[in-house]
């Protein structure tokens, strides 16, 4: 079986899409393809796909007049992803959901549950959501 071995530490793949609902499916497929190439298992591939799509969804909800830049950094046993856009209102995680009908943080809740590390940064007016997923190496 010819499969991925991540000798190539630090490879970077970039994807830019218009912030439009119809292109989130493209992001999902690209994310799956990358995660699969790196050697994540099926459930982890799904986690990565879902998390990145939720980040795009948060951005697109703020309007469709900009681009979304997604960076995938492939390290030996880590995939770092950053999703950024100018008009990006990142949800804050709300742990106390008293009223199930009145919580506005579904996306960030999902992202934080699925990824190993999540940070929201802002610089020069560009908001950037950084996520990290570790590759569990089987012995």
């Amino acid at each position: 079986m010819v499969e991925a071995a991540n000798q190539n530490k630090g490879d970077i793949i970039k994807l830019t899409i218009p912030a439009m609902a119809e292109y989130v499916s493209v992001v999902r497929l690209t994310s799956s393809a990358i995660a699969s190439r790196i050697g994540f298992d099926i459930e982890e591939i799904e986690d990565i796909k879902v998390a990145i799509a939720e980040a795009c969804t948060m951005i697109i909800k703020n309007g469709e007049k900009q681009n979304i830049d997604i960076n995938f950094e492939i390290l030996a046993d880590i995939l770092n992803i950053s999703v950024q856009a100018k008009y990006f209102v990142c949800q804050e995680r709300d742990n106390k959901v008293f009223d199930v009908y009145d919580n506005k943080s579904l996306s960030i809740l999902i992202i934080e549950s699925l990824m190993d590390k999540v940070e929201c940064e802002s610089c020069d007016g560009i908001v950037c959501l950084k996520m990290m997923k570790k590759l569990r190496v089987d012995v």
Binding site: E22, R28, V50, V100, L109, I110
Partner: protein, 105 residues
């Protein structure tokens, strides 16, 4: 991909049966919302969502189900989910929505 939604009213059981086929995401959820709310407006009875053909759902899909549930609860009705695929089930677990909806095997 995309989304195709089949709906059907079961007279004997007095329930709606809803079968979304494909993906419910930010692109397709507006039409899913329209269909669900229209059903509920037509007849406020329990809605059984059969997830057999549903391969993906995101937070916007959850949002649509929540707004449907909110309307139904006013009339003491429910949304019952069956045949939900593991990847989608995981979302309900993560968000705690597994305690809000009735999820059957």
């Amino acid at each position: 991909m995309g989304l195709e939604v089949k709906k059907e009213f079961d007279k004997n059981k007095n329930v709606w049966i809803l079968k979304p086929m494909g993906e419910i995401d930010i692109y397709t959820s507006p039409s899913f919302r329209d269909i669900l709310l229209e059903m509920i407006n037509e007849k406020s009875v329990d809605v059984i969502l059969d997830g057999e053909g549903l391969i993906y759902m995101d937070s916007t899909g959850l949002g649509v189900l929540i707004s449907g549930l909110k309307k139904l609860r006013e009339k003491d009705k429910n949304i019952i989910l069956t045949n939900i695929k593991p990847n989608i089930n995981k979302l309900f677990d993560i968000t705690g929505l597994n305690k809000v909806f009735i999820i059957k095997e």
